[in-house]
């Protein structure tokens, strides 16, 4: 049994991956039947008033979705950012593989390097931001 949290986290990682980076990590075609061919569409992104209040519509983003079933029976779904159909197909295939006997291999070959790369990039951007943090120092205090 796969925990929903676990699947949620790998699906998010695959959805946010750059298509070329994902393709570089996995180019093996596994026999499968397409349940829903890759399709480009839009998702309306909602914000909240004041950051925490009632929702409002901010604007749409492009996504591509795909569903397939492996010859071994596992069903994979993907909704990935952007308009790259190969990205959606690859993500759905990996989602299916991660539910089957090859999950350890896919974790090691795809998820681990993808996650590490993402963390590195986020960390580097945060580090550049941190260098622009203001340190105030007191020149003069008003009281005697």
């Amino acid at each position: 049994m796969i925990a929903a949290e676990d699947r949620k986290s790998w699906m998010g990682l695959l959805a946010k991956a750059r298509p070329a980076a994902l393709a570089a990590l996995w180019d093996e075609a596994v026999p499968h039947e397409v349940l829903r061919a890759p399709e480009v569409g839009a998702v309306m992104v909602q914000g909240r008033m004041g950051g925490t209040g009632a929702p409002f519509n901010l604007g749409e983003m492009t996504v591509t979705r795909c569903s397939l079933r492996l010859a071994t029976g596992e069903v994979g779904h993907a909704t990935v950012q952007g308009r790259d159909k190969d990205h959606a197909r690859r993500a759905a295939m990996l989602d299916a593989l991660l539910q089957g006997p090859r999950r350890a291999e896919v974790r090691a070959r795809v998820l681990a390097p993808l996650g590490a790369q993402r963390a590195r990039e986020a960390e580097h951007r945060a580090a550049k931001a941190a260098a622009t943090r203001v340190d105030f120092f007191t020149l003069v205090r008003g009281e005697d």
Binding site: K16, Q46, M49, G50, A129
Partner: protein, 361 residues
């Protein structure tokens, strides 16, 4: 006399070819790639995504190239494209409190937890042309420091704890969508925010500026301005749970305004809110000011008759695609319309005595 004419096909075709050649410019100069626009004209790309109301940096960059840098034309292309896309659903509301901020400043609290992080800003530059950019040089490298790993809290949270600021009403109600239903007045705040966030930056800026100059006086403090990335989550019906489907860069601005209180409400601060796709801080600040000005009715304030308080005026004129469509159509053939006007003026003149006509000339 009515004369129907047709023609111009060849002229139109050749005009398009002329446009294509001019778009390319001098062939001795290397052609601009879409990736170059996406990476190096990022703020133009952000504006096109925000006002085109579609987050896709590659498409926005392509639109800018096709439009020869005319951003309103590029926004038009994006708006036209988005109508061709099937809508797969709505995301869960973004959690901007979890934003990975690369800029975050407060004009109200010097020592805000999380600090004042300037990020990649034009502020404090001298606005002198940098001629070094005319020469190709090494890619610059920014300094780094120990990164913050935990999320940065919203500044208004601290005010909220003491009841010093109005609480946002909690709700998960599905908001109205002006891309699905025609905009009808009076509009609720959700509809106003959607309209302003995709509205023309220049128009929203002008409206916001008018409030600062005294039309619908509301002196706003920028409690917080943050720019960074947020994950977007959507419920996937096949799975029965929500997953991240992508990540967007956003600019969020929260303003606080003094409020003297009313018969039912104590004196406290009130809020204006701006949230815009991309690094778009002028727009986000302006949005917060206009949002606050339009809230006069729900806060029981007086209508001073200022343009920024008039939701019909603001919402019906904020959309640059509607505006430019109507504006620019008057350059297209109106031969028949004009012919009838011409006849009318001739008739009117014919009825006027000779002496008067001469005096007028």
């Amino acid at each position: 006399m009515y004369v129907a004419v047709k023609g111009g096909e060849r002229a139109i075709e050749n005009a398009h070819a002329f446009l294509a050649e001019d778009r390319r410019g001098d062939p001795a100069v290397p052609e601009l790639s879409v990736a170059q626009i996406r990476e190096q004209m990022a703020l133009a790309v952000n504006r096109v995504m925000a006002e085109g109301s579609l987050y896709d940096p590659d498409l926005a960059a392509l639109a800018i190239k096709q439009a020869r840098g005319d951003l309103i034309e590029a926004i038009f292309l994006i708006r036209a494209y988005r109508t061709t896309l099937p809508r797969f659903g709505s995301s869960k509301p973004l959690d901007t409190g979890a934003m990975a901020c690369h800029r975050r400043i407060s004009a109200t609290f010097k020592d805000a937890p999380g600090g004042q992080v300037l990020g990649p800003t034009f502020d404090y530059t001298h606005r002198l042309l940098d001629f070094k950019l005319m020469a190709e040089g090494e890619a610059p490298v920014a300094p780094v420091a120990e990164p913050r790993r935990e999320p940065t809290p919203h500044i208004t949270e601290f005010l909220n704890k003491d009841g010093m600021i109005e609480e946002e009403a909690q709700s998960d109600a599905m908001p109205p969508d002006l891309t699905r239903e025609p905009l009808e007045l009076p509009a609720d705040r959700a509809l106003r925010l959607q309209s302003i966030t995709r509205g023309d930056e220049g128009f929203i800026l002008g409206m916001a500026y008018s409030t600062q100059r005294g039309y619908a006086r509301n002196h706003a403090f920028v409690a917080e301005l943050r720019i960074g990335t947020c994950s977007v989550e959507m419920e996937i019906p096949e799975l029965g749970f929500a997953v991240e489907i992508g990540e967007v860069t956003l600019t969020e601005c929260e303003t606080v305004n003094q409020f003297k209180g009313s018969k039912t409400e104590p004196a406290q601060f009130t809020r204006g809110y701006g949230l815009v796709f991309g690094q778009t801080e002028r727009k986000a600040i302006a949005m917060a000011l206009v949002d606050r000005a339009l809230r006069w009715k729900e806060l029981g304030e007086d209508n001073s008759g200022a343009p920024a308080q008039d939701e019909e005026f603001v919402l019906y004129h904020a959309d640059n695609i509607q505006a430019t469509g109507f504006l620019e159509h008057i350059k297209l053939p109106h031969y028949v319309d004009f012919q009838s006007e011409l006849e009318l003026v001739r008739k009117l003149r014919a009825g006027v005595p000779e002496a008067l006509r001469e005096a007028a000339e």
